[in-house]
């Protein structure tokens, strides 16, 4: 495993742990999601330098576009949750319990 690979893998794992263990705020989960996408962006951007190919040089841009769409959707859901549940804490999302 090259140092580059290790670096973005550990960044991803940290973000994933943050997303899996988020406790209070909706926004912190969205931030961890953005962190995941950022680590993947760095990985794809370093691909060209690491492997000396120009094959997949446009991949980071497309990833950025999709991650921006996803972040927008997440923020819209944050606003919708605040409108219906009066706050964006994750403990208040308890209407659908089994």
């Amino acid at each position: 495993m090259t140092p580059t690979h290790f670096a973005f893998s550990s960044a991803f794992m940290l973000g994933l742990a943050g997303l899996a263990f988020h406790r209070t705020h909706f926004l912190s989960a969205l931030l961890c999601l953005e962190g995941l996408m950022l680590s993947l962006f760095i990985a794809l951007s370093l691909w060209t330098l690491q492997f000396n190919t120009m094959n997949s040089a446009s991949l980071p841009m497309i990833l950025l576009a999709f991650s921006a769409c996803e972040a927008g959707a997440g923020l819209a859901l944050l606003v919708a949750t605040t409108r219906t549940h009066s706050n964006s804490r994750l403990q208040s999302l308890n209407l659908l319990q089994c």
Binding site: L33, L63, E70, L96, C98
Partner: protein, 325 residues
Amino acid sequence: MTPLIYSTLIISLGIGTTLTFASTHWYLAWMGIEINTLAIIPLMTQSHSPRATEATTKYFFAQATASATLLFAATSNAFFTGSWDILQTNNPLTYTLMTLALAMKIGLAPLHSWMPEVMQGLTLLTGLILSTWQKLAPFCLIYQIQPHSPNLFMALGLLSIVAGGWGGFNQVQLRKILAYSSIAHLGWMVLILSFSPPLTLVAFSTYLMMTFSLFYSFMMTKTTHINSLSTSWAKIPTLTALTPLILLSLGGLPPLTGFLPKWMILQELTKQDLALVAVLAALFSLFSLYFYLRLSYTMTLTMPPNNPAGTLPWRLNPSHNTLPP
């Protein structure tokens, strides 16, 4: 929702799945899955009720996490092997991570906890799209991953059959029951994947047809709870006679179609010297059969407002005197 936006979202759903089906590059497959996720989110929050918003939030988090993990596994695989080809996922770490990410996408145990709650908050039509169409794209990718050992898929499959059966035991909400039945059926499909992929496709196509029929019959009678199911016999009597057939087919009873994939899967498992796994899978799908039978019992065999448990046989020697003296 205006027809233009509605048709844009439906077409985007179609484009996403088609993109994943047509791709050999992991990145394009990931893009198709992302398009699917983004397109169904407005469809879920259509009614703007608190339950719908909460269901959409939980769905968004589960799917976004799984998508990011899938792309990370694909990127790791590309760093290890130098290839973005879907059929060349050779590294054990990466295909394990990919399998787990795709399992979270479609709702296999132990990553299934978002599924019943999300299904509960949606309308029946959106729930139908969620449990049939949204499973196609990740399933196409699961089908193409070539694992070296069948252990992970068997573990996921067996756990899903157990979780789908056991979880639906005490449910009265029909959408949660349908979610648990979906988890159990996906477990059957994934169980046999590493031994005989055509059987997985047989199980998947029969599951699609049966789930579509069941959702549609619930949509026609507009029932979402066992109580309203029990009084729905007067709305469409023919449907009341036919829905037990669909339910028993989902439960896997011969001579209905739902028996076919289960039979072939059990046969293939015994051929591979895995008789214990076959026995466990068959025994745990009895739990699912229990709640399908309960649905067909309350729908067809009882006429409300009689309490179904109260229609017991007459006791000739009563233990208490219930009449006043």
